[in-house]
Amino acid sequence: MSTAATAATSKDKLNIAGRAFSSRLIIGTGKYRSYDQMRSAHDASGAEMVTVAVRRVPLDRSSESFLDHLNPSLHILPNTAGCYTAEDAIRTARLAREALQTDLVKLEVIGDQTTLFPDNEQTLEAARVLVKEGFVVLPYFNDDLIMAKKLLDAGCAAIMPLAAPIGSGLGVQNPANLRIMREQLPDATMIVDAGVGTASDAAIAMELGADGVLMNTAIAAAEDPAQMATAMKLAIEAGRLAYLAGRMPKRLYASASSPLQGVIK
């Protein structure tokens, strides 16, 4: 990277509720084949925040603390994955806050087992309650401008529209919706959450104006998670720089790059 580009990115931070992050990549902790593999992927990604899930402690066997396997410098973002009602998501968020002493929560209220699409109505209801209780709410939701506005009105610290179904790796399915949200909500922190499959998907999300990308399976299920984590880091930086640079207008026909005059006869 050139000195100018480095200087530009070192000042260009992801902002979440007044907290600045140098990395625009947030990654998950699920589905890795080993703790070592997870840790090397986390290190390679440069991410400063990772998501974790809240579950019942098994009573029939001793369980080591999963959190001990995370790099202690990482910010931990607990999620409410697996919740199908606002009430369960609220209870899960409260438990996470008590255990971790963090006000951050990735709010996720699922509406359907096959698609894992969010239940936007329950998500909004939970967001309203959690914001009142002082949480920094980062909601996963369908890529819908009106819902985004309602979540921001409710006091959410960011909006996290999906690119595609969770774990699908399909990439950004509706780029127009992300562009519209970016244009209509220029001041909102927009993090594309779920559905990214490979580096180009992350770059596309960033080129569309996302402030960050949250992903899990794309890295964890890659043949070499650490290498994919590096690819994602670079893709997000590249996509961000391209967005800031302002791309050329698209045109249907060619426009010669070399002068038309002076060609030998």
Partner: protein
């Protein structure tokens, strides 16, 4: 006294507090959280929170997720 911990019924001898329950279950106390009848009980209150028959307790920790 019978209580339900994470959906499983547990017979406890005599009255016991949430803190005693954690010890009895041999759970690590760090970075877990407890709900008693759907309300979070703050860590500082585990010792003074006495359990009653048919209480429903959820004890959670963290696992990998996205």
């Amino acid at each position: 006294m019978k209580v339900y911990v994470n959906g499983e019924s547990k017979d406890l001898s005599g009255t016991s507090s949430l803190a005693e329950l954690i010890t009895q279950l041999d759970l690590p106390a760090a970075r877990i959280a407890i709900e008693l009848n759907r309300e979070v009980v703050r860590r500082n209150d585990w010792g003074s929170t006495m359990l009653q028959d048919d209480d429903r307790i959820e004890i959670v920790h963290f696992v990998g997720g996205g």
